[in-house]
């Protein structure tokens, strides 16, 4: 019953490109988009690099009516939704009234919008707080705004599991399809590029303090020293194969063949992390054996301890150097919940093109990891890909896609 969820459209906005064509071209050429923060003056902060979506001009894509009431990440989500439906050659108006649902993941909501309103309240007084604050910052905002923009009246969902949410949203969307929903738009577009969001992220001490964009985010490297945050994400059109066929959909990027989520045991319990178990469960769900996985898109935390956990999990499942592993997010930074959604899109494009996009900036992979880390584009016959994601606090998710038959 797992072969029946197909991905028929994608809308992607990432530091590496507006739209999946530009993104794919850039990740293949290893063009990193990590650079100095431009959205605010980051001079005073110990971390000053980000993956920003620099050439996105909301006014070019959205009616002016939507701008005062939306955070930047919601504007990107709305455009991603437009592009996803266009890519799927689908007009939501053509489906039955409750035919299309929306499930998105969030991490911190419209934080920049919220920051501005907090400043209005604390700096000037309650009468300065916007009427839009009641929803523009909250975690469900993208789901609500996207549903309104396209008249999507099926089941709604919004999940928060930090970065893992980018995969968990797809898991929830597939659950809706199994309940008989023909189509669900799902994924995540995220990012909090404001001083307040920056300070919140700095508090974990996992953000890289390196100032050279080529050295700041190097997962699995001997010099790994944290991550670089970014913004962006992807929304995907998920359909049952039956519904896709019925509407005459011409394109299948691939199938969502397996998914599972686990949670780590309490700190200090002495029990091992559960990332490997999430992968095993996702493989079982996909009815695939480890040796049938052609490429892994890693979570690639960039902190040495978490990199080691992921490398151990991969070794335990695939053996040393047992499967090509890549992390194109080294070119975008970690996009909160948006990152894993972009990884799914990138993985589907890799399956289509038969090329594994590279992990950049990693010049000295730690030998102990025993990973076959792909650092230059690699041609390969790709039929399956595994995508991993972890969320702060112990969330593990794994998702398997297979190419179109």
């Amino acid at each position: 019953m797992n072969a029946d969820t197909v991905i028929t459209g994608m809308g992607l906005l990432a530091p590496t490109g507006l739209g999946h064509d530009e993104h794919w071209k850039n990740v293949l050429s290893g063009a990193s988009a990590i650079g100095p923060v431009t959205r605010f003056d980051a001079e005073r902060y110990p971390s000053r690099l980000a993956g920003e979506v620099t050439d996105f001009v909301p006014e070019e894509h959205l009616p002016s009516r939507l701008l005062p009431q939306t955070d930047h990440m919601t504007r990107m989500a709305l455009v991603a939704s437009d592009w996803a439906f266009a890519d799927a050659e689908f007009d939501p108006a053509l489906l039955p009234e409750y035919g299309v649902g929306v499930v998105t993941a969030a991490s911190a909501g419209g934080f920049e919008f919220g920051h501005r309103e907090l400043q209005n309240l604390w700096g000037r007084g309650p009468e300065y707080v916007s009427a839009y604050q009641s929803f523009a910052w909250f975690y469900a905002v993208n789901t609500g705004q996207v549903s309104i923009r396209h008249g999507l009246r099926g089941p709604a969902g919004a999940l928060v599991t930090e970065q893992a949410g980018g995969l968990d949203a797809l898991g929830e969307a597939r659950r809706q399809l199994r309940r008989g929903q023909p189509m669900v738009l799902t994924g995540a577009v995220d990012g909090s590029p404001c001083p307040w969001g920056w300070v919140a992220q700095l508090s974990t001490a996992r953000m890289s303090r390196e100032s050279d964009p080529a050295l700041a985010y190097r997962p699995f490297d001997a010099e790994a020293a944290g991550y670089v945050p970014g913004e962006g994400g992807a929304l995907l059109v998920l359909e049952s194969e039956e519904a896709a066929r019925a509407r005459g959909a011409r394109r299948r990027y691939g199938r969502m063949a397996g998914y599972a989520a686990t949670f780590d045991p309490p700190p200090g319990s002495g029990r091992p992390a559960n990332l490997a178990r999430a992968v095993r469960a996702a493989l079982d769900d996909a009815e695939l054996r480890p040796e049938e996985i052609d490429v892994v898109f890693a979570d690639a935390s960039g902190t040495p301890e978490e990199d080691a956990v992921e490398a151990d999990a991969l070794r335990s499942l695939f053996g040393p150097h047992g499967v090509p592993v890549t992390a194109p997010k080294t070119m975008t930074g970690r996009l909160s919940a948006g990152g894993p959604a972009v990884d799914v899109a990138t993985a589907l494009l890799a399956l289509r093109e038969g090329v594994i996009p590279p992990t950049v900036h990693v010049s000295r992979p730690l030998p102990d990891h025993t990973l076959d880390l792909v650092t230059t584009p690699r041609r390969a016959r790709l039929a399956t890909a595994l995508i991993l994601a972890r969320g702060h606090g112990g969330f593990n998710s794994a998702l398997v896609v297979t190419g179109p038959r």
């Binding site: 002016s64 005062p68 009431q69």
Partner: protein, 85 residues
Amino acid sequence: MDQLTTDRLMEIMRECAGDGDAMETDRRPEDVEFAALGYDSLAMLETLSRLEREFGVAIDEEEFAGAVTPAELTTLVNRILTEAA
């Protein structure tokens, strides 16, 4: 305090809620209902709060709801300003 003009009101509304919908009508723009211009309840509340701050007035909620065109709202605000003067 200066009186409110319909031009200033329309400018405030654009800032609070974006451009109004273009109308094919022979009425003057300030005589077209807010709803027909595409301004919803949130747009109106955002405008209300902005007017109250900018002109230092308290606008009664029911009176505000009763002013359904830019011309009517301008008249209402100016009446309150005159009364307060």
